[in-house]
């Protein structure tokens, strides 16, 4: 299970590093993406990536700090959404 989470986090971080960060910039699983690293545009593009990559449809009301604060919180959000969908 933890591996799954880590794998999701890694895919997110790989995208962030490749697409949204300047070269040489580093970012970790728990690093705060919102206040330090990414601005709104970048986060929205990240959200687009998450939707596409993990088959979600992020609704406006899901766009809250808790869900997008860090790679770890995004991974939790993805898992929650998947579970909710399976449960539903």
């Amino acid at each position: 299970m933890a591996d799954d989470v880590h794998e999701i986090e890694d895919r997110i971080l790989a995208y962030v590093r490749a697409e949204l960060l300047a070269s040489g910039e580093t970012v970790g699983r728990e690093d705060d993406l919102l206040s330090e690293l990414l601005d709104s545009v970048a986060v929205l593009r990240l959200a687009g990536f998450v939707d596409q990559e993990f088959g979600l449809t992020t609704r406006p009301q899901d766009f809250v700090v808790e869900n997008f604060e860090s790679a770890a919180s995004i991974a939790r959000y993805i898992r929650r959404s998947h579970t909710a969908r399976q449960g539903g």
Binding site: E19, L20, L21, A22, S23, E25, L34, E36, L37, L38, D39, S40, V41, A42, V43, L44, R45, A47, G48, Q52, T58, P60, Q61, F63, V64, V65, F68
Partner: protein, 1381 residues
């Protein structure tokens, strides 16, 4: 391609170049460090600044202006210094004054682009003025610069000097590019093409010039905090606080735009995106922002929170797709409103917190009408700026705009769940100014009924003629003096009273125009009862409904013998004399729910109207009025009573035998009246009939929108010696309540204004929420008539309390107001403009029609399950007025024996020898004209010079490439010359497939690049072109030139090459005037061509509205991009050209267009042009092809006489949405229905069914059986889609089509097509079944008689309604006339 500028800079540089020297992109700040804090060390500040400026390539930017007007990046200059300016005795206030002045100066592009100044104050404080050109800065950049300088200042103070490291602006910027978000292109394309991009603010859309005025609103702590709180609530809250606050502001702005646009639902604005994606970018001074379109939709009933949720969703899409480098580079298709929400907070400066003021340089980008800036730089609370384009909106409106916004802001903060429509945005001042009351002071109150007024008049002028009956031949039949009339009226009233008629009763009177009818009306009134006219033209069921519904006590079908009563009736003190509160009449108008409703008008309202109308129109004169319209028509009230209360004469014109009422023409023919009250439809009949020599001097036009061209035509027929009063008023507000005297010198555009209220009338313009709209904003007109203690409006609808309550509302002050359903706006104080209906009501010839009434009747027909009735605007042609319609190739047309130019081409004549004047002129001048042409060697030199001018250009030229033979040949030759050419094709949506295939094959084989340009505005441009020129080509050409020159500019390409043929050059520029002195000077032609090119691209039309034509505002573009005509340099015969193409490229002659062009829309242009202008628009061009040897005369004639497939033309015209300008007056009613039982619902059955129940104007001309009634996404009936789903076909298939035969039938068929806007009329077709009306019949007869110089009774159109029958009548008359000679 960008001359070293970044994508963001490109946009700004274009705007700056258009307005060279205007400080529109100055970003200036004043930082005020007050005297009570620790003083700043000037020298240390300057050192800190120097260190930062030296490390930033952005601040050291220098630009080089290129000779062609372009801008490129130069090598960085030295670091700009912070100057010290000492002004004697300066304090904070005088510093700000100085700073504002300084920021209005332009910064030289050669640099420095930054102006930094310290100004010490007398009290020890200091001011820092920082002005940066937007090319090197944005708000975040300024914040970054501020922080960097502060850090360095602090480091210098503590001695911990650190090296300053700032990433390179250019590198950081470019590093962000090339990573677009998926779907971004599609998203922005959809956003740019969406309607609502240019919002109508206060009825206006366009900005002019760069002058801009800033209006400021400081929100203060309380409101700033309330916004923050709201940003945390559901519907607004999002990822970050800044984003949530942006959503709040976007919501408020959307609500504001909705309200000041008159309730527009689709709205939008442009908003900048920071564009700083990487962390490096966040620490780099320089310009990163880009503008993207934000779409907003406000729905009826929305609360602020509803709208917020939608804005939140859009904000997500907006940000998700806003990748760097994706904005429209030239600012093309920009919106006219900008929302600039700036989250930047500057923070402390070395322990001090300066007050920060953003200075406005007094200029802004000229495409923006309004820029809304929201910021809180110094943490002292949110500030709002409305930067208005100064010339777009009058000052009083600009000043009020913030109040309107504030009202919405406060409402949203107080309760986000309140409805947006419930907020009263108007200022007290506006409420006072725009609830306009007509004259109340020196106008007499209605104190006597029309009965009393007539009585007094009859005593003053007993022997004057009151009524004059005219017989059907225009001779006087009977005259009645005032005294006699009064005696008969008195007699009748005595008889009625004896029969038991009592006050409050309704008595039906016949609608026929006779002396007896007038006596009946007056007699009923005199007896204290109200009259109900019953129109003889109505179907039986409708007349029965009127009689039953009104509860008429009796129907005075015929006057009784009055002789026993005549002598007793001398006293004016008879019983039952009506009072002002009594009912005067009941008129029936179309009711939306199915049955006509009776409007109850009281004496007070009638007397009030007549009093005002006498003062305004009659002014004490004795005038003769005609009675020629139906007595059941509200409009007729004016003519009926005005003469009788002013001592004039009423001439009564009966309805001639037969179904058509042509009394109007009898009025004109007899020429015995001074005054006419009529509808615009009547007026257009008069225009055709001709009014020369008429004694009419006063006209009152009402019932429909009056267009200025019609008013102008009629006025000039009467040598402008006629007063034309445009009178507006619904029956419910009593005949007329707003009026405007037409002034031919002033009223030139669109419609004649409806003017200002009549005496005692008060008008208000309210929005959907029944709140007053601000000045300029469209809204619904509400009308009150009366004073503090009296009410002159109609009493209501008879027996319909609900509809009465709906239509007549009591407002807060206790006064009743009538809701007109008409959409209007105050164009300026005192000028009310009519804009249309708020509901579905239609007017046909002044007749009010509620589609709902027709639908209800139709639903009663067996087998009809569902139905909708819509008005199709008539396709043009009909009201062209002066234009006859000889079809191309029709019998009377001759052709020049040399070139085939037809004789209907208006600007040429054909001589006795059969040679046209164009050929003759050409014969004289063509030798000399050779001086204009050049050789291919010259063309080489043109290219060489261009290459020297722009050595770095990616192409030598852009070639306008239509795919036709001429441009293909030209393209091949250019490629053969080894030139680097980019082929450029406008895909206007109608290019033939074979032409496109040619284009692809040819460019591929030549290995030439090809770009297909498109614009979402193409159909709008076609429409505009059809309206202006009756063709499609002009709009298309202009679009090609505009887009190609813009593209050349963007790419830095110096030449645009056209494939204009030599014939076209003769046609358009080598005109006879160029040969003054027998020779031609090529330079003179070139100058003239360039001058006209400049003017051509500056004309305000759909191209300039829809495309970015800002390039053409300055002359520089013409030295940057040169337009070259290939065939000026190349002379090639047709044979050579075709032979060359055969050998060189896989080009095939297009066959799917049916003619020698590449474009399928051509036929539509030809059709409209031929119809509206009377000749083929290719007549002249083809004749030049013949003269140049590029076509044979026979080929030209063949193409000119080509059959045009009218059904495909009409489909195309529908697609582009072409409706002729004059068409608004003419509509055809069409019914669409879904049937349960198809067999029982054929059109003929339905038409007969409706004819039994409805007056003829209400019976639709066409009935279409459909599978379902389509709805729009908003759940409304998709009218356009319905109309588009069926082309109007003449025959509905009852009889086999039989083509017209012989000259008269053919002419008449053309005439019908023209007037009825149908196609393919056959000999057996029936005029009225094709949608003909009485007025149209009159026009057809007038034109028919004119064409063949015969005299036919107009009734012939009715007695012989089929084409063949009517033609026989005309032919007989023509023969009879000929024999008589």
């Amino acid at each position: 391609m960008s001359d070293g500028l970044t994508h963001s800079q490109l946009q700004i540089s274009i705007g700056q170049r258009l307005h060279a020297g205007a400080p529109l992109y100055n970003m200036a700040f004043a930082f005020v460090f007050p005297g009570d804090s620790e003083p700043l060390d000037v020298e240390r500040f300057q050192r800190a600044w120097r260190r930062v400026a030296g490390a930033s390539d952005a601040l050291r930017t220098r630009l080089v202006e290129l000779p062609g007007g372009g801008i490129r990046r130069g090598s960085p200059g030295p670091a700009p210094e912070t100057q010290l300016v000492v002004l004697e005795g300066t304090d904070e206030d005088s510093f700000l004054v100085w700073a504002r002045e300084r920021c209005a100066g332009a910064l030289a592009l050669a640099g420095p682009l930054v102006d930094s100044v310290l100004v010490p104050f007398a009290n020890g404080g200091i001011g820092w003025f920082l002005n940066q050109h937007h090319l090197v800065a944005d708000a975040a950049s300024t914040q970054c610069l501020y922080r960097l300088v502060a850090e360095q200042y602090e480091a210098l103070r503590t001695g911990e000097e650190r090296p300053v490291e700032i990433p390179s602006y250019v590198e950081t910027y470019d590093a962000q590019l090339g990573r677009p978000a998926p779907g971004a292109d599609e998203h922005w394309q959809a956003r740019r093409g969406r309607s609502g991009r240019r919002v109508e603010l206060y009825g206006l859309v366009d900005a002019t010039g760069t002058q801009s005025v800033r209006h400021e609103l400081r929100l203060g702590d309380e409101r700033s905090q309330a916004i923050s709180r709201l940003a945390g609530e559901p519907g607004f809250v999002s990822l970050s606080h800044d984003l949530s606050r942006f959503v709040v502001v976007a919501t408020l702005l959307s609500a504001y735009l909705h309200r000041v646009s008159g309730g527009a639902e689709e709205l939008g604005f442009d908003a900048p995106v920071a564009g700083r994606v990487t962390p490096d970018a966040k620490h780099t001074p320089g310009l990163f922002i880009e503008m993207f379109p934000f779409a907003s939709e406000v729905r009826s009933g929305d609360t602020f929170r509803d709208l917020g949720a939608r804005c939140l969703e859009e904000a997500m899409l907006f940000l998700r797709h806003a990748a760097p480098g994706l904005s429209s580079p030239s600012g093309a298709e920009a919106g006219n409103v900008v929302l600039n929400f700036i989250p930047a907070r500057f923070g402390d400066f070395a322990g001090r917190s300066p007050r920060i003021e953003w200075l406005h340089p007094g200029h802004g980008d000229s495409v923006h009408m309004l820029r809304v800036q929201v910021h809180d730089f110094d943490g002292r609370g949110t500030t709002l700026h409305f930067d208005w384009n100064e010339h777009a909106l009058p000052e009083r409106l600009r000043c009020r705009s913030l109040r309107h916004f504030e009202a919405l802001l406060d409402a949203a903060l107080a309760d986000p769940d309140s409805e947006i429509a419930s907020v009263d945005v108007c200022t007290e001042e506006e409420r006072r100014a725009f609830a306009i009351l007509g004259n109340t002071r020196d106008s007499r109150l209605p104190d006597r009924t029309v009965v009393d007024l007539f009585w007094e008049q009859s005593e003053r002028t007993p022997d004057r003629v009151a009524l004059r009956q005219i017989d059907p031949h225009g001779a006087v039949d009977e005259e009645v003096t005032y005294d006699e009339l009064r005696r008969r009226v008195d007699g009748l009233s005595a008889r009625l009273i004896q029969d038991g008629v009592a006050p409050g009763d309704r008595v039906a009177v016949p609608g026929e125009r006779t002396i007896d009818s007038v006596i009946s009306i007056l007699g009923v009134l005199r007896a204290g009862a109200a009259y109900v006219p019953v129109d003889p033209a109505y179907p039986e069921t409708r007349r029965r409904h009127v009689l039953e519904d009104s509860g008429a006590r009796l129907f005075l079908k015929q006057l009784p013998d009055l002789s026993p009563w005549l002598d007793e009736s001398t006293s004016s003190e008879r019983p039952n004399r009506p009072g002002l509160d009594d009912l005067a009449y009941l008129l029936y108008t179309s009711g939306s729910t199915g049955l006509p409703k009776g409007v109850l008008v009281e004496h007070r309202g009638l007397a009030d109207y007549l009093g005002w109308a006498s003062r305004r129109y009659v002014r004490g004169d004795r005038l003769t009025f005609p009675l020629f319209t139906s007595l059941s028509f509200d409009l007729t009230v004016t003519s009926l009573y005005l003469p009788l209360v002013t001592g004039g004469t009423l001439e009564i014109y009966p309805q001639p035998e037969g179904p058509v009422d042509t009394a109007l023409l009898d009025v004109v023919r007899r020429n015995a009246v001074d005054f006419l009250k009529l509808t615009p439809s009547h007026l257009s009949v008069l225009r055709r009939a001709g009014l020369g020599g008429s004694r009419i001097r006063r006209m009152v036009v009402g019932g429909e929108d009056l267009k200025t061209p019609l008013a102008a035509a009629v006025s000039s027929q009467l040598d402008d010696r006629v007063e034309i009063h445009n009178e507006y008023g619904p029956t419910e507000a009593v005949v007329g309540c707003v009026a405007h005297l037409y002034d031919p010198a002033v009223d030139m555009d669109g419609s004649v204004p409806v003017g200002m209220p009549a005496d005692h009338v008060q008008i208000e313009v309210l929005d959907e929420g029944n709140l007053p709209v601000p000045e300029g904003v469209p809204g619904e007109l509400w009308i009150a008539r009366g004073g503090d203690d009296w009410d002159g409006l109609a009493r209501g609808y008879h027996g319909l309390p609900e509809q009465t309550a709906e239509g007549f509302r009591v407002c807060a002050e206790g006064r009743r107001r009538y809701r007109s359903g008409d959409r209007v706006r105050f164009a300026r104080p005192g000028v009310l403009e009519f804009l249309g209906r708020v509901d579905r009501q239609i007017k046909v010839s002044g007749f009010r029609i509620e589609p709902g009434e027709i639908e209800s009747a139709l639903l009663e027909a067996p087998g009809v399950a569902q139905c909708v009735v819509v008005a199709r605007p008539r396709r043009g042609i009909a009201d062209a007025g002066t234009v006859a319609r000889p079809a191309a190739g029709s019998r009377d047309v001759r052709h020049c024996v040399r070139c085939g130019l037809p004789s209907n081409y208006p600007r040429a004549t054909i001589g006795d020898d059969g040679v046209c004047s164009v050929c003759r002129t050409y014969e004289r001048v063509h030798e000399h004209a050779q001086a204009y042409f050049r050789t291919m060697d010259d063309l080489e030199s043109v290219f060489a010079a261009a290459r020297r001018r722009r050595p770095d250009a990616p192409y030598d030229a852009i070639m306008l490439y239509s795919g036709g033979k001429d441009s293909t040949y030209a393209l091949c030759r250019l490629a053969e010359m080894g030139l680097r050419v980019l082929a450029f094709t406008l895909d206007n949506g109608y290019i033939s497939e074979s032409a496109k295939a040619n284009i692809r094959r040819v460019t591929e084989q030549l290995d030439v690049g090809i770009e297909f340009a498109t614009t979402p505005a193409m159909n709008a441009i076609f429409r505009d072109s059809l309206e202006r020129f009756s063709n499609v080509c002009n709009g298309c050409f202009k679009t090609i030139y505009t887009l190609a020159i813009r593209r050349a500019h963007e790419l830095g390409v110096p030449l645009v090459v056209t494939g204009l043929s030599r014939g076209q050059m003769f046609e358009t520029r080598l005109t006879e005037e160029m040969f003054r002195g027998g020779r031609i000077r090529a330079e003179e032609v070139d100058e003239a061509v360039l001058a006209s090119r400049k003017a051509y691209h500056r004309v305000a039309d759909e191209v300039s509205r829809s495309l970015d034509t800002s390039l053409f505002r300055s002359d520089e573009i013409w030295s940057e991009v040169e337009v070259v005509d290939f065939y000026r340099y190349c002379d090639v015969s047709m044979e050579e050209l075709y032979a060359y193409l055969r050998q060189t490229v896989p080009w095939v002659r297009p066959e799917d267009t049916g003619r020698s062009t590449n474009c399928l829309i051509n036929d539509a242009g030809i059709f409209v042009h031929t119809a509206e202008r009377g000749f083929h628009n290719y007549a002249l061009p083809y004749s030049w092809d013949v003269r140049m040897g590029h076509k044979t005369r026979d080929e030209a004639l063949d193409e000119l006489q080509d059959e045009i497939d009218e059904s495909s033309v009409l489909r195309i015209l529908d697609e582009v949405g072409y409706r002729p300008a004059a068409g608004a007056e003419h509509v055809t009613l069409e019914a669409f229905y879904v049937a349960d039982i198809k067999e029982r619902t054929d059109p003929e059955t339905l038409r007969n069914h409706l004819s039994r129940h409805l007056p003829s104007p209400l019976v639709p001309s066409h009935f279409h059986l459909v599978e379902e009634i389509p709805l729009t996404p908003h759940g409304k009936i998709a009218t356009e889609a319905l109309l588009a789903s069926v082309a109007v076909a003449a025959s509905e298939g009852e009889l086999p089509h039989e083509p017209p035969d012989g000259p008269v039938e053919e002419y008449l068929a053309e005439l019908w097509c023209d007037e009825l806007a149908v196609e393919n009329v056959g000999a057996r077709d029936h005029f009225f079944q094709l949608g003909g009306t009485s007025l149209l019949a009159m026009r057809v007869m007038l034109r028919l008689c004119e064409e063949f110089d015969i005299d036919l009774p107009l009734e012939a159109a009715f007695s012989h309604p089929t084409l063949r029958d009517l033609s026989r009548v005309a032919e007989d008359r023509i023969l009879a006339d000929a024999e008589g000679l």
